[in-house]
Amino acid sequence: MIASVAVNWTALEPVLPELLLIGVAVLLIGFDLFLPRQRQLLPWLTVIGCLTALAMVLGARPAIGFGGMLLADGYAMVFKSICLGTVILTTLMSERFCAVINLRQGEYYSLTLLSLVGMLLMAAAGDLMTLYLGLELMALPIYALVGLHKRDGRTSEAAIKYFLMGGFASALLLFGMSLVYGLTGTTEIARIAEEITARQLTANPALLLALGLLLTGFGFKVAAAPFHLWTPDVYEGAPTILTAFMSVAPKAAGFAVFGRVLYLGLPALHDQWGPILAVLALLTMAVGNITALCQQSLKRMLAYSSIAHAGYALLGLLTGTIEGLAAAMTYLVMYLFMNIGAFAVLMLLAAPGRAGESLDDCKGLAARNPMAAALMLVFLFSLTGIPPTGGFIGKFYLLKAAFAAGYTATVVGAVLFSAISAYFYLRVVRYMYMDEPRQTDVLHVSPGMSAALGLCLLGVLGLGVFPGSLLDWTLAALSGM
């Protein structure tokens, strides 16, 4: 007997942006295969797809999809926007860079989009299962992307390191999840919190072990010390365009699930995870900022700086308050613009046959291209946290939230490490403005690249001068949580 089942298509509404992006990714593969002459259209198709998805995400009503598996709420919306923004900006920058380093384009764009779908699922995950699936859907295309540029021997090394570390972190995370499932009998994040209170599990040693495993797994994903060891190597070995992408979007998605699990699933354990995260944040800022001091490669320096910035964002997370979470989200939005901007200028320095990744390559940039040097100056000031840029405001909110929650020592440490970071950021500025240029060739700025640089500049300065609207947006997004 064949029973006809009425399919409820409206149930798909919360995942429409994801479905659209999967469609665009498949279309891109087909386009690359059957219309090889029109390859220059691929980045624009990607950008249009992402912009449409962004509009859908911003316009969507808050909804709970698939029986609590997906929570398309305001919290998810903010993180989805960050991830979509990263892909839009890096795609705009990629066109010429892919040609310079001779990267296969079709696979690049479709894999980026598939990874983006994983991030959107992570941002909306309401269940440990969807969280894990989103995490792997994000990570697997990135492993392939890192190793995509096979002619460069460093990329396969970076890919294998990333793959092994990512797989190990996922396994630890899964074991933690299986313990949580065993103790609470559910994988739904919101119900985990209820069961923990109902069964009075807060002092249960198995739950504390599970918490430790979850923190380790998430620590790997957001590259918090002491689980950051893969980060500098992977970021240096990957093509720069991918480093720019990896240093923002997967990190933001990692923070999305981190925050969701801690705030929605394990709020009862804040007494345990608050101090642990405070130590991790301090350690991350120390390792990132101090190791960045002695780097000769600008790319590797930015890799360490992105580790340090994960430490700053952890400051907001560890407070356990809505204000802290909103500050962390605000900071990640600012970080998107300033970090992508800095990487964009780094990519401008690349030329065929020359990587242009060392500090020597940026010497005398002001004489070669005053505009690029001025932009880099703004982005580096913002990364340091100097007003009136977005980085200052973002850091200010984070420190304020952590201080209000009573983590005074951590705040003092953060300020000190932030002061240390000024040395290596401003050293680049000195090289750009005070030294003689080593190369004299003219920098080629493609239209997409100038658009991306313009957007980043607008983001950094606009959010620095008018920060209130962004914080209001993140606070409003969190009001339903």
């Binding site: 299962m129 894990y132 396994a171 074991f175 999840m177 065993g182 500098p232 190597d233």
Partner: protein, 100 residues
Amino acid sequence: MIPLSWYMALSAILFCIGVCGFLTRRNVIIMFLSLELMLNGVNLNLVALSHFLESLRGQAFTFFIITVAAAEAAIGLGIAIALYRSRRSVHVDTVNQLKG
């Protein structure tokens, strides 16, 4: 009937063997194997818990983990082949160009 604690002990032992193997062995393929062992420890844990809790979520989760592990193995072996082509070895001690 075998009690739940035996299953959980076995899965914990499997997981720990995987962790030790991952941390001590230097061949990339053996490290993959250790990762799979860790994942199977998790799978066993989830299935046993699912049976004793009488909830199907754990078993559904296991199916997802098995599927993802297959995709992960495909990508990992692909990367290992790319590594072998450029280095003529899959030993992690030879993977040392990037440091500092």
